[in-house]
Amino acid sequence: MNVKELISLIDGKLLNPSADLTREVKGGCGADLMSDVLASIQPEAVLLTGLCNPQVVRTAQMADVAAIILVRGKMPARETLDLAEEERIALVTSPFGMFELCGRLHEAGLPSLERPVNCPTCDCD
């Protein structure tokens, strides 16, 4: 699915107009610890998080994340919004909690793009 379809699935609200809504989302990853995200996430995933600071966008940029969803209707700090706008990564807020969101997306066919701990079969990518 693409970012636009993703947004409608979660009653989401897009916060930065520069985002590319046609970008393909291949799966998901949910975490509040950015190191966990950097350690586990595979490219082209949607990142679900409760964290609202600019590091979320930086992490997303480094890890080739397709879109960021802020859970429980959270609104990001101005700096976070500006950075997302600059980097053109979709920043979306959704009224639902983390568990509900993971459930909805999984049900809609998005697989997990979280690499298990000590996965022997893959290297960094």
Binding site: M34, M62, D64
Partner: protein, 332 residues
């Protein structure tokens, strides 16, 4: 241009989609003053419609602002002229046929505001005023289209040139061993800009022709190291990235406080970060572990009260070396 006309007959390609999104973006980036026609001609309300007609013909324009005592009071267009001609009333004054107190738009507004006006109101042009309310230009739908197309063409060209130049850097400069060194000073506690240096390094690698995978691995490793400088150092530190066609060497160093037990610091989950840092999503004790996973070689040296030096290397396989030997299109 061809991409636009082709969308009617063919399914949309990724390139088309990209162009459209870029157009939307430009609607927010471009300002009205960048696309408007600067006012050269205006008419006064007591001129006759015949004079207005001649003024339109001479200036090859289809509308003009009506100005009295230096103040914008109306707008006269070709449509008003036609109305007047049908009445055989060319001797009438401009004030009788003009649109009074026309809706204006500010020169500093983004182009998207003009787009909204054109959609909601059925006028063909709007006078443009500056912050003091003084008339500075006029904007038509044609100005909008022309402005956006020019900008599109311009920045498409710019990025192409940048990438071309960067990817040929290593071929254009001949030596026995050429490398590009980039240095970034990182401030202690600067969480707002945390990751800015890593982001620039990642972008540089992509421009130089690295594969997305190599750029991603390097980006993640440097980002973790950059956050370590921001979180743990006494005075911040330096990131030094040396790029060669076949390898990337990154050196991250600071002048204290140093790590007491390097082996312990390397253990997954071990962290000395306080709660503030954890609230920011870091300090889970995974940074060095992540770095190790992303790079091909890593060495961490630290002396208490003197500083820490982290050296990492990523080797590029022969078919993925940067520069001309590598074609970016293969991967992306």
């Amino acid at each position: 241009m061809s991409a636009v006309s082709e969308t009617h007959s063919k399914p949309m390609t990724d390139q088309d989609a990209e162009n459209i999104t870029r157009t939307e973006e430009l609607a927010y980036e471009l300002k009205v003053e960048q696309v408007m026609t600067k006012v050269l001609k205006s008419v006064s309300p007591d001129q006759t419609m015949l004079e207005a007609l001649e003024s339109f013909r001479d200036g090859r324009i289809s509308g003009a602002p009506v100005v009295a005592d230096g103040r914008l009071i109306g707008l006269i267009s070709m449509e008003d002229l036609i109305r007047c001609l049908r009445n055989s009333d060319l001797k009438a004054s401009v004030s009788q046929y003009m649109t009074q107190n026309p809706q204006t738009i500010r020169s500093t507004d983004p182009v998207v505001e003009a787009l909204k006006l054109f959609t909601s109101k059925r006028f063909g042009r709007f006078p443009v005023v500056d912050d003091k309310g003084e008339l500075v230009g006029i904007i038509t739908k044609g100005d909008l289209t022309r402005g956006i197309l020019t900008a599109l063409q311009h920045d498409y060209h710019e990025e192409e040139v940048r990438r071309y130049r960067a990817s040929h850097l290593f071929e254009d400069i001949v030596s026995d061993r050429t490398s590009l060194i980039m240095r970034y000073n990182i401030k202690k506690g600067d969480f707002i800009h945390g990751g800015a240096a890593s982001s620039k390094i990642k972008r540089a690698l992509l421009r130089l022709g690295a594969t997305p995978q190599i750029a991603r691995r390097t980006g993640i490793a440097v980002y973790e190291a950059e956050m370590n400088l921001i979180i743990h150092t006494t005075n911040g530190g330096v990131i030094r990235a040396e790029i060669e066609p076949h390898q990337i060497s990154i050196n991250v160093y600071d002048d204290g406080p140093g790590i007491e037990d390097v082996d312990l610091a390397m253990r997954p989950g071990y962290s000395t970060a306080d709660d503030d840092v954890r609230e920011l999503g870091f300090g889970a004790g995974m940074g060095l572990v992540n770095i190790q996973r992303c790079v091909d070689s890593m060495r961490l040296e630290s002396i208490i009260n003197k500083g820490t030096n982290l050296k990492m290397k990523i080797f590029l396989p022969k078919e993925e070396t940067m520069g001309e030997g590598f074609s970016q299109n293969k991967e992306s």
